[in-house]
C-alpha cells in the first residue's frame, strides 16, 4: 500500500479524544529533476527511513530499484480474473443454450466449443481488464479525495514539473527536525510541511451525505417497481408502447367486418376466378370421371350427399360410447340405390404407369392404408385386428380388395373412395396428394391381380427364381 500519510481512521483509533489542532502528517522536499530526486531517494533510503515516497509527474525509470519497491501482485489478479471470465462464459453458454433452453438452430450443436469461443474470449478480456483497473486502484488506495499532501501549495507542481520526496509522520523514526535535516542534506530546492486538518474538520460534508442518501433512495425505486411487477398479477392489459405495431389494421380469419355487405372479413372467391394451384380442370385426373356434361350433375349430387357424415369421422376416430356408435352404424348403412354405380368412371390411369409410380404407391399404401386394410388388402390391418380383438362394436371391418365387387370397380371409382371416403372410412384428400392417390390405386390393382394370378402371368425369366423361394 502506498499510504504515505496517516489515514484518518488510524488517527481516530489512536486518539480517542478529538484533537482540535492540525496534525503534522508529513514533510516534503522539492527537487528540480528526475536525476536529482533519484539521487536523493538513495540517500533517504540509506538513512533508514521506511515510510516515505517519491512523487513525480511521470514514472521515473529505475526508481523501483532505488526505493526497493517489490513487484506488484497485480498480474495474479489479472490472471485469476481472466481464468474466471473463461469459466463463467463457458458455463453460462453451456447452461443457457445446452441445458435450460436448448433449441435447434442452423444444425449447430446446443453447446459447441467453436461457437462458444468468441464469447468466452471476450468475457475473459472483460473480466481481466476490469479487475486490473480495479486492482490497481485498490492497491494504490484510490480513490482518496482527502490527502494532507494537498495542503502544500508547492506540492501542486508534483503533477507538472517538480519532483518530491515525502516522509510520513507515521515513520517509526519520524522526527520533524531530523527529516528536515535529511532533506537539506540532499540539496532539496524547497522544503514544506503537510498538515492534516483537525479531526473535527475531517467529517464527511453534510450536504454531500444528504445528496448521496437521496440518490440512493431514488436508485432503489426502479428495482422495487420491477420486483413488484414481477411478483403480482394484473387484469390490466400490458402497456402498448407502439400501438400501431400491436394493433395492426388487418383482419384475422373468421372475423367480422363492417366493410362488406355480408359482414364477413374473409372474402369468398370472386366468381369466374381460380386461385393459384386450384385449377382442377382435368376431370380424369382430379375426379376420376370421364369429362362430359354429366360430370357437373354428378358433382352437384356428390356435394349434397357426402359419403360419410362428419360426425362419424369424429366418433370413429375417438371411439365414442356404444349407443351413439350403434346409431351411427345405422346411419352409415349404404343407401339402397347407389348413384355412384352409374357414373362415368375412368377405367384407365390418367397418370403414367411406371415402376416408379408403383414403388411410390406401395410406399404410400403401406403408410396410409395398410394399418386398416392390411398389407395385402384383405381388410386385416393391425388396427382392424386390434379393434376386433377388443370387440369394438363401432368398428366396421374394411372390405377385402379381393372381392369380385371391388375387383370390378373402375379405377375412377376407387379414386373417388379415397378422395371422399366410403362408409366409415374418412376422406384422405388432405393427407394424400392426387398423384399419390393414383399411385396407391395402381398398387391396389397390382395386389388384386397378384391374388388371382397363375403361373402364366409370371414372366418366364422370373420363374426359376420362384423355385428358390423357401417353402412355407
Amino acid at each position: 500500500m502506498t499510504a504515505t500519510i496517516a489515514p484518518k481512521e488510524k488517527h481516530h483509533a489512536s486518539h480517542p479524544v478529538v484533537d482540535e489542532s492540525p496534525l503534522l502528517a508529513a514533510v516534503i522536499a522539492e527537487f528540480p529533476s528526475a536525476g536529482a530526486v533519484l539521487t536523493a531517494a538513495k540517500t533517504i533510503r540509506q538513512a533508514g527511513w521506511t515510510d516515505w515516497d517519491v512523487h513525480s509527474p511521470f514514472p521515473i525509470h529505475g526508481i523501483d530499484d532505488v526505493m526497493g519497491i517489490r513487484p506488484t501482485r497485480l498480474p495474479w489478479i489479472t490472471l485469476g480474473a481472466g481464468a474466471m471470465g473463461i469459466t463463467v462464459a463457458l458455463l453460462m453458454q453451456w447452461w443457457m443454450n445446452g441445458v435450460d433452453y436448448p433449441f435447434w438452430i442452423s444444425g449447430k450443436p446446443f453447446f459447441g466449443l467453436p461457437a462458444a469461443a468468441p464469447v468466452a474470449f471476450e468475457l475473459m478480456i472483460l473480466f481481466a481488464a476490469l479487475s486490473t483497473i480495479a486492482g490497481m486502484l485498490l492497491l494504490n488506495g484510490l480513490p482518496r479525495f482527502s490527502n494532507p499532501l494537498f495542503s502544500s501549495e508547492g506540492f501542486r507542481r508534483a503533477t507538472s514539473d517538480r519532483f518530491f520526496i515525502c516522509i510520513s509522520a507515521r515513520d517509526p523514526m519520524f522526527d520533524r527536525e531530523v527529516a528536515l535535516k535529511a532533506f537539506s542534506d540532499c540539496h532539496a530546492t524547497a522544503i514544506d510541511e503537510c498538515w492534516a486538518p483537525p479531526a473535527s474538520e475531517r467529517k464527511f460534508p453534510k450536504a454531500l451525505s444528504l445528496a448521496l442518501m437521496v440518490l440512493f433512495t431514488l436508485a432503489l425505486i426502479p428495482p422495487v417497481l420491477i420486483a413488484q411487477k414481477r411478483s403480482t398479477t394484473t387484469t390490466e392489459p400490458r402497456l402498448h408502447a407502439i400501438s400501431d405495431m400491436d394493433f395492426q389494421p388487418k383482419f384475422k380469419p373468421q372475423r367480422t367486418s363492417t366493410l362488406f355487405a355480408d359482414g364477413r372479413a374473409m372474402r369468398p372467391q370472386v366468381s369466374g376466378t381460380v386461385a393459384r394451384g386450384d385449377l382442377r380442370a382435368d376431370s380424369r385426373l382430379f375426379k376420376g370421371l370421364e369429362p362430359g356434361p354429366k360430370v357437373h350433375r354428378t358433382l352437384a349430387l356428390l356435394q349434397t350427399a357426402p359419403a360419410t357424415p362428419p360426425v362419424a369421422r369424429l366418433v370413429s376416430a375417438e371411439g365414442g360410447p356404444r349407443d351413439v356408435a350403434e346409431r351411427l352404424v345405422a346411419l352409415a348403412d349404404p343407401p339402397p340405390a347407389d348413384p355412384l354405380d352409374s357414373q362415368p368412371w375412368v377405367t384407365s390411369f390418367p397418370v403414367p404407369v411406371t415402376s416408379k409410380t408403383m414403388k411410390r404407391g406401395q410406399e404410400r399404401y403401406n403408410i396410409y392404408c395398410a394399418t386398416c386394410h392390411g398389407l395385402a388388402g384383405d381388410g386385416d390391418g393391425l388396427v382392424t385386428r386390434r379393434a376386433l380383438e377388443l370387440e369394438q362394436g363401432t368398428w366396421i371391418k374394411p372390405t377385402t380388395f379381393h372381392s369380385d365387387n371391388l375387383r370390378a370397380q373402375p379405377v375412377g371409382r376407387l379414386f373417388h373412395s379415397i378422395t371422399n371416403g366410403v362408409r366409415k372410412m374418412p376422406s384422405y384428400a388432405d393427407l394424400v396428394s392426387v398423384e399419390d392417390r393414383w399411385a396407391i390405386i395402381l398398387y391396389v390393382k397390382a395386389l388384386q391381380q397378384a391374388r388371382h394370378a397363375d403361373a402364366k402371368d409370371i414372366p418366364s425369366d422370373l420363374i426359376p427364381q420362384l423355385r428358390d423361394l423357401p417353402k412355407e
Binding site: 506488484t72 453458454q93 486490473t132 507538472s160
Partner: protein, 465 residues
C-alpha cells in the same frame, strides 16, 4: 515558439544509430505542461471552436431527431428491403467500429512494440476510438426496431423466459463491441488520471478543482502508485491487443459464417482487422493534422509522427489490397460459380461504381505514400486519408449491399437505394463524433503529458544506474 523554423520541425530524416527526438523545440517538463494545459484552461475557447461545435451539434440534433422518427415509426423508414436487409445501418456500424480501432492499436500494440512516438498521439487517438464506438453502437441498437426490449440481447432473465442464442455471430458482436467499448473507455480514462491530476493541481476556479479532483481520484504520482499504474497499463495493453483484433474479427464473422457468396471466405478476419486499422489511422491523420496546427502542437506531434502513421496506412492498405486480390483469386480457383458470379457482379454489375470507388480510394490512393514528399506534407496526407476513409466506407457498402442484392436466386434480385433517413443518420453520426471530439479538446488533456515527459531525453540525462 513561432520562432522555430519549419525546417527545424522536420525530423523525418533518418540517421541510423541516432534516434530522432520525439519532442522538438526547447521543451522541458514545464513547457510541455503549459502547452497542453493552456488548451483546456483558456477562459474562452477560440471563435472557431464555437462555430465548429454549433455546426456539429446541430447535426447531432438531426441524428437524434431521426432516431426518434425511426423508433416511433419503425425501421421501414430506412431503405432496407428484400433482398437487401442489411444496408447502411450495418455499413455505418462497421465503418465506425473500424475507425475505432486506431486508438487502441496505438495505445496497446505500439506500446508493446516499444514505439515511443505513440505517446504524443495516443490520447487523441484513444478519444477518437471511444467516440467512434459510440457512433457505431447507435446503428445496430436502433436497427433492432424495438429498442426498449434490447436487453433481450443480454443473458438476463426476460419475460419470454428464454436465453439469447450464443451460437449466433450477432450475439458475439454484442459481447465483442460492448467489451471493447468498456475496456477502451477504462483504458482511456486510466491513461488520463495523471493528466487530470495535473489539471486539478493547476485549477484556479472552484468547480474545476472539484470536477477534476473527483475525476483524478486523488492521484499524487507517488512512485508506488506509478509502479502499479505502469504494471496495470502493461497488462491492459496486453489484454487490449488481442481484444482489438477480436472485435473486427467478430464483426467479420457476422458476414463470413454465412453462406452468402462474397461473404463466406476465410480471409475475412485478418482482412477486416487490417481494414479497420487502415481506416482508423486515416481518420487519426485527418483529424490530427488540423488539430496540431490549431492548438500549436507541432513540436509535440511532429512530422515524424505523421510520417510513421502514413507508413502504417500504406502497410495496412497493401494488406487490404492483398485481401481483395486473394478473394478474387480464390473465387476463381474455387470453381464455385456463385462465388465467381458474386465477384464479377461486384466489379461489373450494377454496383460497379461503388466497387471501383473502393479500389481507387483504398488500393490506389495510399500508394502515393510510397513518396516521402506525400508522406511528410500535411495537406497531401490529409487528402489521401480522406480518400481512404471514403474508400473504407465503400468497402463495407460493397461487401454488404452487392452480395445481398444479387445472391442465389435471380428472381429476387434487387437494387438498394438509401432514403433520406439513411443519409441523414450517417451524416448525423459525424456530427455526434465531432461534437464529442470538440468537447474532449476543450475540457480534457488532448496529449498524454505524463507519457510525453517520460520519453523526453532531458528526463533521462541525469540518471545513473
Amino acid at each position: 515558439m513561432s520562432t522555430v523554423t519549419a525546417d527545424f520541425l522536420n525530423n523525418t530524416q533518418e540517421q541510423p544509430g541516432v534516434r530522432s527526438p520525439l519532442v522538438l523545440g526547447r521543451h522541458d517538463n514545464t513547457t510541455v505542461t503549459e502547452r497542453i494545459c493552456q488548451i483546456a484552461e483558456s477562459p474562452k475557447p477560440p471563435r472557431a471552436w464555437y462555430i465548429a461545435i454549433s455546426i456539429s451539434s446541430s447535426f447531432t440534433l438531426m441524428l437524434f431527431g431521426l432516431i426518434g422518427y425511426l423508433v416511433t415509426t419503425g425501421v421501414g423508414v430506412w431503405g432496407n428491403n428484400a433482398p437487401v436487409f442489411w444496408a447502411w445501418d450495418i455499413v455505418n456500424f462497421v465503418f465506425w467500429v473500424g475507425i475505432g480501432h486506431a486508438g487502441t492499436l496505438i495505445s496497446a500494440i505500439l506500446f508493446l512494440f516499444r514505439q515511443h512516438w505513440r505517446t504524443s498521439i495516443n490520447r487523441f487517438a484513444e478519444a477518437m476510438t471511444i467516440f467512434a464506438v459510440v457512433c457505431a453502437g447507435i446503428f445496430p441498437s436502433v436497427h433492432v426496431g424495438r429498442v426498449w426490449v434490447i436487453y433481450w440481447l443480454l443473458p438476463v432473465p426476460n419475460q419470454n423466459a428464454i436465453w439469447p442464442n450464443f451460437r449466433s455471430p450477432l450475439l458475439w458482436d454484442v459481447f465483442a463491441v460492448s467489451t471493447y467499448a468498456t475496456v477502451s473507455l477504462l483504458f482511456w480514462y486510466m491513461g488520463m488520471i495523471p493528466d487530470i491530476a495535473t489539471f486539478r493541481d493547476r485549477a484556479t476556479s472552484r468547480w474545476r478543482q472539484v470536477v477534476y479532483g473527483v475525476l483524478s481520484l486523488g492521484w499524487t504520482g507517488s512512485a508506488r502508485q506509478w509502479h502499479r499504474y505502469e504494471k496495470a497499463y502493461l497488462l491492459l495493453a496486453a489484454l487490449a491487443t488481442p481484444l482489438v483484433l477480436s472485435v473486427h474479427t467478430v464483426v467479420s464473422f457476422d458476414f463470413a459464417v454465412s453462406q452468402v457468396p462474397g461473404w463466406h471466405t476465410t480471409i475475412f478476419p485478418p482482412y477486416f482487422v487490417a481494414g479497420a486499422v487502415f481506416s482508423g489511422f486515416a481518420m487519426v491523420v485527418t483529424l490530427m493534422v488540423p488539430a496540431r496546427a490549431f492548438f500549436g502542437l507541432k513540436e509535440l506531434v511532429t512530422l515524424r509522427h505523421l510520417e510513421n502513421m502514413n507508413k502504417i496506412i500504406l502497410v495496412t492498405g497493401s494488406m487490404v489490397g492483398y485481401a481483395y486480390a486473394m478473394e478474387f483469386f480464390t473465387a476463381w480457383y474455387s470453381g464455385n460459380r456463385y462465388e465467381q458470379f458474386a465477384f464479377i457482379n461486384r466489379a461489373f454489375g450494377p454496383y460497379a461504381w461503388a466497387y471501383w470507388t473502393m479500389v481507387t480510394c483504398n488500393v490506389i490512393s495510399p500508394q502515393l505514400f510510397w513518396f516521402k514528399k506525400v508522406r511528410t506534407t500535411p495537406w497531401m496526407m490529409v487528402i489521401v486519408c480522406i480518400f481512404v476513409n471514403i474508400g473504407m466506407w465503400f468497402e463495407r457498402f460493397v461487401i454488404t449491399v452487392t452480395s445481398l442484392s444479387r445472391d442465389f436466386l435471380p428472381s429476387s434480385w434487387g437494387y438498394y437505394k438509401p432514403t433520406f433517413v439513411d443519409i441523414g443518420m450517417f451524416v448525423g453520426s459525424f456530427g455526434l463524433f465531432f461534437t464529442l471530439f470538440l468537447l474532449f479538446c476543450r475540457f480534457l488533456p488532448i496529449v498524454a503529458m505524463a507519457e510525453v515527459k517520460s520519453v523526453m531525453p532531458a528526463n533521462h540525462a541525469n540518471e545513473d544506474h
